[in-house]
Structures are given as structure tokens and as C-alpha cells.
């Protein structure tokens, strides 16, 4: 990479953003890999490196323990484990990256689901000596369940198998066979040694049989432009803006973020739940009017007619409406030590809507190692995943999670402790 790795201001303004999640345990060399990406892209600073060198020495480690970069909490350092999802940042002239680094041992599913919920890409690490193991399948299943579009399987520790092509090919074939059952279409395979640096940032001198790109190059170039849904217009209203000032006396705008689709002035829209239709008068921001508002933009929409709209309502196109209903089937990942209660009532958050729901049925539980359905034990506890039916107090305007992450996701909230206890993906 060299010293000219820092983006110029002009490049900086054009960089896009890739959020990725890394799954695996310390033993897979995950921390070493992240450490190398951060170090080689100059995201680790001298004082940070010195601090972890000191701590490594105090803790009696014979090497600089890069895990200490992410394991920042006292309890994590004392116990030598990662407790929580840690976020890390680095940039190359092409892209900015946000890593959600999830722990391998404790609360595994809960943390990976959390980290994966906002990721464009998942890196799964496999130890070349062990090949595809149960944990690999579990990681891949969760990535698929969360509809992560891109997956990179890094076959790590190639140095410990003499950079053997056959070992790599066998792991690749094993994973290909398993992943055909999943819904991830874009899968990359890279033989690496995080410790030695082979194929992480620099191309390996030890594996001339591998003609593919390095990991960093893959992260920099994977095409995410077409991942967002630009077809189904969905605009959940966050807030009504009425300045009631002299200058903006009659201004009434609906603030929110475009979750999917393209919105522009003149478009005919339908407001849910009222069902009224009108046209978009303008799409506004403090920096000026927007010609075409695209997914992820936070904007204010003004309408031709004054109709009754408030927080939790949704603007859509009349010819492309979401489903509306109160009986919702979802896959739920349980995040709390208190088990899901059949017939129990929970708080529910969906887009900008706050409501309540009741658990009507548990259809089945998933064995996340074999992907088999469990139908004789329907109790869903911490870190377990199952399919449930809920009934909501008022109708939801929703899409399937597969079609639309923003309108297809919910969280369940314990009404007594206020904790977030379930992550739901609408089927």
C-alpha cells in the first residue's frame, strides 16, 4: 500500500461505504486479520499500538495481541474474550469500511445477528487445517438469514498447510455444496495467511496457483451499487415538520428517510393507513430541493394536498403497495435470557411505528448447525432461532424481509424491562 494510502479530499468526497461483519473465533485468526487490515491501511495509530504492546506484555503474551484493539472493556481484557460487537473503521482511497467485529464464543448468535443486520458483506474465516466445520455452517446460515448479499470465505492459515492448493480446493468444494442450500449468490473464496500477510493486502508469493484478487481488493471492489431496492417506494414518516414561522407559515413537510425506491416531485403517492392519494409537491433539504430522492437519503417531502399524516404512517406508490395486515409470520432470533413466552405480549417496533403484539404460535425452531427444523421442542431461548406467528394491535404495512430489509424487520421489546429481546424478519 505504501505511504500514499491516504485519500485526497476530492477522492474522499467520492468514496462509498462498505459495512462488513467478521465472524469466527480468535483461533481462526480473526483478530490477526482485522489487525492486519487496520495496520496496513494505517487505521492503527502508534499510541494504540504502544498501548496494546504494553498490555500484551503485562498479560504475559509472547506476541502483540491485536485482539486488545477491539476488546476495549475491562471485563473483556481480564477474561481474554470479546463480549460485545465492536465497531472499527478504516479507509482506502476507494472506500470507507465499517467493520462490525462479533465475538466467537459468548452470545454468538445474538451478536452476529446484531452485527450482520446492517452489513453489506460477511467475511467467514476457516482454518485451513480444519476445513468447513459446524461453526462455518452456522456463520453462513446467519449471514443468509440476514440476507447479506456478499460473502467472502477466507481459508486462513494456508502457511500451516504448506500453501497446498488441493487443501484449499477441497474446502472450497465442501462449502460450495453446503452453500447451495443458502440464499447467498455472491460468494468469493480467498486462500490467505493473516499472520504472514498472504493475499490480505499484498498478493501472495507463496500461492502462484491462485489467480484471484486479494481480500482488500475484493472488499474495495465488490459491487454494492445494485444491492439497494430502487423499485418499491417506501417512505416511513418519522416526523411532521411545521415551522409555524413567518417565513414558512404554510410549510408542512414529512421528514423521514427513503428506505427504498426513488421519490420525485410530481409523483403520485398514496398515504398509509389513510389510503388518500396526492402528488409530491417537492422533496426538500436544508441544502436545497432534490430532483430525485434515492434510498438512504434523509429528506422532507411536501405534498400537493393537505392530508392527515403522522409519525408511523408510510408514503408509497398507488401501483406498488406493501402488504397490510395484523397476522405476521416471522423468523425470530431470541436475544434475551428470558425465553420467548407463547401467548405473551411484547412491544414491537417496525419502521417508525411503535405498537404491541401477542405471540400466537411457534411454528418450529431451527437447528442452526444442521439447518433442520425442530418441531418437538418449541421453547425459544437465548441465541435460538425459530419461526413464529404474531398478531399486532394495529395493521403493519410491510414487505417480506427478503424483498425489503427496512419494511421487513421488527424488534420485540420486553414491556417490563424495556429490553430488546427479539429480532424478527418477516417472511
Amino acid at each position: 500500500m505504501g505511504s500514499n494510502n491516504s485519500p485526497t479530499t476530492k477522492e474522499y468526497m467520492n468514496m462509498d461505504l462498505l459495512r462488513f461483519t467478521t465472524a469466527g473465533s480468535v483461533d481462526d485468526g480473526k483478530s490477526t486479520l482485522i489487525g492486519r487490515l487496520l495496520y496496513d491501511s494505517k487505521a492503527i495509530f502508534e499510541d494504540q499500538l504502544e498501548a496494546i504492546e504494553r498490555t500484551s506484555e503485562q498479560m504475559g503474551d509472547s506476541y502483540v495481541n491485536l485482539a486488545l484493539l477491539t476488546d476495549g472493556l475491562r471485563a473483556e481484557r481480564e477474561q481474554g474474550i470479546t463480549i460485545d460487537v465492536a465497531y472499527r473503521y478504516f479507509a482506502t482511497p476507494r472506500r470507507k469500511f465499517i467493520i462490525s467485529d462479533t465475538p466467537g464464543h459468548i452470545q454468538y448468535t445474538r451478536n452476529m445477528v446484531t452485527g450482520a443486520s446492517t452489513a453489506n458483506l460477511a467475511i467467514i474465516l476457516v482454518d485451513a487445517r480444519n476445513g468447513v466445520v459446524e461453526q462455518t455452517r452456522r456463520h453462513a446460515f446467519i449471514a443468509s438469514l440476514l440476507q447479506i448479499k456478499h460473502l467472502v470465505l477466507c481459508v486462513n492459515k494456508m502457511d500451516l498447510v504448506d500453501y497446498d492448493e488441493e487443501t484449499y480446493s477441497k474446502i472450497r468444494a465442501d462449502f460450495d455444496e453446503f452453500s447451495s442450500k443458502l440464499e447467498i449468490r455472491d460468494i468469493h473464496f480467498i486462500p490467505i495467511s493473516a499472520l504472514e500477510g498472504d493475499n490480505v493486502v499484498e498478493k501472495s508469493e507463496n500461492m502462484h496457483w491462485y489467480n484471484g484478487p486479494t481480500l482488500l481488493y475484493t472488499l474495495e471492489t465488490v459491487h454494492i451499487g445494485s444491492d439497494s431496492n430502487q423499485v418499491d417506494c417506501r417512505f416511513p414518516v418519522q416526523r411532521v415538520i411545521r415551522p409555524q414561522s413567518e417565513k414558512y407559515h404554510d410549510f408542512r413537510g414529512y421528514a423521514g428517510r427513503i428506505e427504498s425506491g426513488i421519490f420525485k416531485s410530481g409523483d403520485e403517492i398514496l398515504a398509509l393507513p389513510s389510503g388518500f392519494t396526492t402528488k409530491i409537491k417537492s422533496v426538500e433539504t436544508m441544502d436545497g430541493k432534490i430532483e430525485e430522492a434515492v434510498p438512504q437519503m434523509s429528506v422532507i417531502i411536501t405534498l400537493e394536498d393537505e392530508i392527515d399524516i403522522s409519525r408511523g404512517d408510510m408514503l408509497v406508490r398507488p401501483m406498488n403497495q406493501p402488504q397490510v395486515g395484523q397476522d405476521i409470520e416471522l423468523m425470530v432470533c431470541w436475544l434475551n435470557e428470558k425465553k420467548l413466552i407463547m401467548g405473551g405480549k411484547y412491544g414491537l417496533k417496525h419502521t417508525t411505528k411503535d405498537l404491541r403484539c401477542i405471540i400466537k404460535d411457534v411454528r418450529y425452531k431451527v437447528n442452526i448447525n444442521t439447518l433442520h427444523r425442530i418441531e418437538d421442542d418449541l421453547s425459544i431461548g437465548l441465541n435460538e432461532i425459530g419461526r413464529i406467528l404474531i398478531r399486532t394491535t394495529t395493521p403493519l404495512f410491510y414487505d417480506s424481509y427478503k424483498k425489503n430489509k427496512a419494511t421487513g424487520s421488527v424488534i420485540l421489546i420486553d414491556e417490563f424491562t424495556n429490553e430488546t429481546v427479539g429480532a424478527g424478519m418477516i417472511i
Binding site: 495509530f45 499510541d47 472493556l73 463480549i83 445477528v113 451499487g225 415538520i241 415551522p243 424488534i411
Partner: protein, 301 residues
């Protein structure tokens, strides 16, 4: 980049605006903690964008240690006036006078820790139920584990081992009476993002961020500015140097860097080639490996 995809700066800007709008809608009485530093200056701009053309639906609050750089205080008052926001000043000196806290003693005495009491008292007094902070996850390792919506119990304490999972963009701000939230819209921003945003938005910042001549003293491998709050020991001397500050904290614990960067563009170049984190120059973080976590648990920013 196609016009259908946002750049990374547009994405984190939009995310911060989304978070601010969520807070204004989910809470009854939010407040924006404003220090006059670069991060809180970005926060004010984002808040303006989030609620334009309406005014900010919350007040600003500064926890004033009494040891601030005069340039920062002057800037703070000017900005509040310019955007016509209400500014509350909660004073650490008052907390000391009331006997709520006691001043640290010794040559390295700092009011940094005392701020926590003043902050929590002010939150209680004004019945704020959410306080925006400009903290970023890239600043410090304990902050790397922070949520956007960070729960505080009735004692104002943070429980890092028992945080609510935060999925997608569904932010859970439910709480019991007496509890509050700290909200960090800049969670995903880096120091470089902040500087690029300041340049892009042409935001004004206090002069101490730019290179200037100042009398400083080297202590514990940090350059501290001359002020009434610092006592020299026998061997120490002030020296005049070309310096600037990378963060704006108390004069007693914020280290300067030697620099000739006099423009934003030069600062950006300096940040790009910097090999030390911005908080590397903060004595408050250096007290122990987990100094930040320990203070945050008690209710610090």
C-alpha cells in the same frame, strides 16, 4: 459513483439526521451537549438539517468546567446566538461551591471527572430524558462498544456488559421514569470524517484548532498551554511554540501538537498523516487503560 448511490459522507450524514429525528420523536425533553469543539459543531449543523425549516426542538447545554479555553467559550456563545438556540450552562464551579464535588489536589489536578456530577445534576434538574453527545466509536476503545441509543439507569450509570442489542435502524428508546439515554449520532464517524465534513459544509470552528503561537509547557510528554489553572514545578518552563489543538477539552488536560497547519486543508493533510490518535493528547484518558470506560460507567459523556 452513480447518482443512485450515496457517498459515504452522505450516508453517515443521513444516518445522523435519522437518529436525531428519532430522538426528537421518541423522547419528551432531549438536550444537545455542546462543548464548542469540532464534533459538537458538526452535531449542531446536523440538527439544523434534521429539523429545517423549523428551529431545533431542543436546547443546547454546556458543562462548563471553568477551565476552558477562552476562545472556545467565545465561539460557543457566538454560535448559540447565531442559530438562535437556547443555551444552558451548567457550571462545575457551582457544583464545587455547593459542595457536590471536591476539587482535585496536586500538580496534575483536573476538573475532568467532576463534570460527571455537574452533568447528571443538570440532567435531573432540567428533567432531560435524552442527551445528545458527539462521541465517536473510533475515538477510544470503550467507545467502540457504544450504542447509538445508550441507556442510563436512574443513577446515570452505563452498564457496558448489559447493553441492548441494536439491530437495523430500529432504535429502542424505551425507559422507566428517572432513567435517561445518551445518544451518539456520530457513532460511525471518524476524526477524518469530521474534518472533511467541516470543510465540505464550510463550518466555522474555534481558532485554537489552527496553528498559532502560544506559551506551552512540556509535562508527561504533553504540551500544555499556559493558563491560570496550571502551576509550574521548579524545573518547568514555558516556551513559545507554533502549536494547535486536535481536541478541545480543559486547559489542564488537553495537549497541543506542534503544527503549522493554518487552514482546514492543511489540518486534513495533517490528520491523514498523523500517527497518534487525537485522544493520545488527552491526559484524562491516560490515567489508566480503562480510564474512559470507568468514567463512562459513572455517567461521563
Amino acid at each position: 459513483m452513480s447518482s443512485y448511490q450515496l457517498t459515504h459522507l452522505q450516508q453517515i450524514e443521513s444516518e445522523a439526521i435519522f437518529v436525531m429525528r428519532e430522538v426528537a420523536s421518541q423522547f419528551e425533553k432531549p438536550v444537545l451537549l455542546f462543548s464548542g469543539g469540532k464534533d459538537s459543531i458538526c452535531m449542531v449543523r446536523l440538527a439544523q438539517k434534521a429539523f429545517w425549516p423549523a428551529k431545533l426542538p431542543f436546547t443546547l447545554m454546556h458543562i462548563d468546567t471553568g477551565h476552558n479555553f477562552p476562545e472556545t467559550i467565545e465561539f460557543r456563545d457566538k454560535l448559540a446566538e447565531k442559530i438562535k438556540a437556547k443555551l444552558i450552562i451548567a457550571s462545575v464551579q457551582e457544583s464545587i461551591d455547593k459542595g457536590r464535588v471536591a476539587e482535585e489536589k496536586g500538580i496534575n489536578a483536573s476538573r475532568n471527572i467532576l463534570q460527571t456530577t455537574t452533568l447528571l445534576d443538570a440532567i435531573e434538574e432540567h428533567q432531560f430524558d435524552a442527551a445528545f453527545g458527539g462521541a465517536r466509536r473510533d475515538e477510544e476503545k470503550a467507545r467502540a462498544k457504544e450504542r447509538f441509543f445508550s441507556h442510563r439507569d436512574e443513577f446515570g450509570q452505563w452498564d457496558p456488559k448489559n447493553q441492548r442489542p441494536e439491530l437495523w435502524n430500529l432504535f429502542n428508546g424505551r425507559k422507566n421514569h428517572g432513567e435517561h439515554f445518551r445518544v451518539f449520532p456520530l457513532s460511525n464517524w471518524t476524526e477524518m470524517d469530521v474534518w472533511q465534513y467541516i470543510a465540505h459544509e464550510q463550518l466555522e470552528i474555534p481558532t485554537i484548532y489552527f496553528s498559532h503561537k502560544r506559551e506551552v509547557v512540556m509535562r508527561n510528554s504533553m504540551l500544555l498551554a499556559k493558563s491560570d489553572f496550571i502551576q509550574l514545578n521548579g524545573k518547568e518552563n514555558y516556551e513559545k511554540k507554533d502549536i494547535r489543538f486536535r481536541t478541545v477539552g480543559d486547559m489542564t488536560c488537553t495537549g497541543a501538537v506542534e503544527s503549522n497547519a493554518g487552514t482546514l486543508e492543511e489540518i486534513i493533510q495533517e490528520v491523514a498523516s498523523a500517527r497518534i490518535t487525537e485522544r493520545g493528547g488527552r491526559a484524562d484518558d491516560r490515567r489508566s487503560e480503562t480510564a474512559m470506560e470507568d468514567r463512562k460507567k459513572e455517567g461521563y459523556f
